[in-house]
Amino acid sequence: MACTHDHSCEDHDCSSNWSLYKHIDLSKVTALNEANPGSVKSVFKAWEERLNSSGEHLESNEGDPELLVYIPFTSDVKIKSISVVGGADGTSPSKLRVFINRDGIDFSDAQSMQPVQEWDLVENLQGVLEYQTRYSKFQSVANITLHFPESFGGDTTQIHYIGFKGEATQLKRDVVATIVYEITPNPSDHKTRAETGGLSHVE
């Protein structure tokens, strides 16, 4: 659960739960309506660093608090909950809508499509709140798209940290990457169990 208990976190390792950031394919992460292209990659970090705002953060364009973040994973993951740390002064996002396993979503799609799940967020500047998912729907997530339609009244939306809690499977959802085709079969590759040691023979 969230670390709102009053003992310190060294007893159990909270950060290991939030380790799905390691399975994010950072090079393919994109965001729409971000003020600095590429700044979206800075919000995926370890749990301990979620409040560390010395680096970059994700900010939307001036006057338009809508944000759309597309996150592909390197393998299929199961997401149990999501945590979002926003900015101060009303620049935290107020709603979150997520879409699973769809790529190429833009704002008009996001606004018209039915999300897999949506939440009303609160300002979570300490990073202690997490939003649980309907786990059955988040069983094999190859990529996830987060849509933040509005903020708490600020001109822009700022996001300092996005974390995912869950587990990674070793499966990959899409096409097999390496396939070896044989032009002519090599009999030694096709030894049946009964014949190891004797002459091999292709059935």
Binding site: N61, E66, G104, D106
Partner: protein, 398 residues
């Protein structure tokens, strides 16, 4: 080599019948479009390009983004002019076409040819621009054709609201001798963001210029025929300019520093020789100063400082374009991929080579003692030979 899907919005309104761009505005536009398509598909084979027309009965998408160049070029045939251009709708439909591109990894770009007056307000254009920026679509605008009050401002406002990190550009093209496509080739519309001139662009420039209009190649060499040579010439000219400034500064200090008597004599001799060698002397005073500096350099730093050696050659040939060409061409042939500077000084030091060069120049007699002097003073050949020549000089002197 950025992976991109491009939609080109063509203006086929009545204003395109005008002939201020040869042969007609519409034809100039069509040529430019075909060149752009070629450039995009060549820079990355997975790029796709689509075309739509903005005027006529309504916006018509002639080709959705495809990498098949033949399809794109064929749909440009038989286009009819008429009606008024609807810029806003054109851009929105282009954005829609890009949204449904097959490869979602491609960056989205719209290229608009705005040749007729724009009836939209600045505000409306800015809203469109913001929408494009939000969906990270880049926009290139070619402002040509009809010149109307406020058109450039409207287009600049549109560009300002779209532009994100200089991915969008605007080009204003006025009617002139040059074809529209020639003007566009050197702009970021063709060359992409920060890539510099693509080889396709250079080849296209050559092909277009071969049609008979005045070609303004820097070196009189057709990049289409010999792109390596053209590139080498361009690069060495730029290097020469950079080194010239550095070397001139250094040479000025050194020329004032060295005061040796015996060096003054051959120095002035070789100075005369090289001044006769170089025919076109626009400003004799500057020429002599430059040559003095050049020779001083070669005297003081024989062969070791290869960059200075290179500078010497470049300074001496500064005012003589043909000489520069000749030297560079022969060096190009001689040493393709070896490190140029050391070879340059070696080549310069090769007496037989230098004498053959000088003999090919009219007005220079290789048997002139002054010229022999110059040759003898060249670095690269051993010092002993230099001394030997200096010994022979008093005998040869007439």
């Amino acid at each position: 080599m950025v992976l991109e899907a491009t939609m080109i919005c063509i203006d086929n309104s009545e204003w395109m019948r005008n002939g201020d761009y040869s042969p007609t505005r519409f034809q100039a536009q069509a040529d430019a479009v075909s060149l752009i398509c070629g450039a995009k598909t060549q820079s990355n084979p997975e790029n796709t390009v689509g075309i739509l027309t903005m005027a006529g009965k309504g916006i018509r998408v002639l080709a959705t983004p495809t990498s098949d160049l033949g399809k794109i070029l064929s749909c440009m045939h038989g286009l009819e002019m008429g009606g008024e251009m609807n810029l806003a709708a054109g851009i929105l439909i282009a954005q829609l076409a890009l949204k449904h591109r097959q490869n979602k990894n491609q960056q989205q770009r719209i290229i608009v040819f705005a040749g007729s007056p724009i009836k939209h307000e600045k505000k409306a254009l800015e809203i469109i621009g913001k929408k494009l920026k939000k969906n990270s679509v880049a926009l290139d605008i070619v402002d040509f054709g009809e010149e109307e009050d406020g058109k450039p401002e409207k287009l600049e406002a549109l560009l300002g609201s779209v532009n994100n990190n200089d991915t969008s550009h605007i080009v204003h093209v006025r009617p002139s001798q040059n074809a529209l496509s020639d003007v566009l080739i050197s702009t970021p519309v063709f060359t992409g963001d920060g890539e510099g001139g693509s080889s396709f662009a250079a080849a296209a420039a050559a092909a277009a210029a071969a049609g008979g209009s005045v070609s303004d190649f820097d070196f009189g060499v057709d990049p289409n025929i010999d792109p390596e040579l053209a590139l080498a010439l361009r690069v060495s000219m730029e290097e020469e300019r950079a080194r010239q400034e550095a070397a001139a500064k250094r040479a000025a200090e050194e020329a004032s520093g060295q005061e040796k008597g015996e060096e003054a004599q051959p120095q002035s001799d070789s100075q005369n020789a090289t001044s006769t060698a170089t025919e076109k002397v626009s400003d004799p005073m500057d020429e002599d100063d430059l040559l003095k500096q050049a020779v001083a350099l070669s005297m003081n730093i024989p062969g070791s400082d290869s960059s200075a050696g290179d500078a010497q050659m470049s300074e001496a040939t500064n005012d003589d374009q043909e000489f520069a060409l000749a030297l560079q061409m022969s060096m190009q042939d001689g040493s393709k991929d070896s490190s140029a500077p050391s070879d340059v000084s070696k080549v310069l030091g090769d007496q037989s080579f230098m004498s053959s060069i000088l003999s090919s120049l009219p007005g220079v007699d290789p048997n002139d003692p002054n010229v022999k002097d110059l040759l003898a003073s060249l670095p690269g050949q051993s010092e002993s030979q230099q001394k030997k020549d200096e010994d022979e000089q008093p005998k040869d002197d007439k």
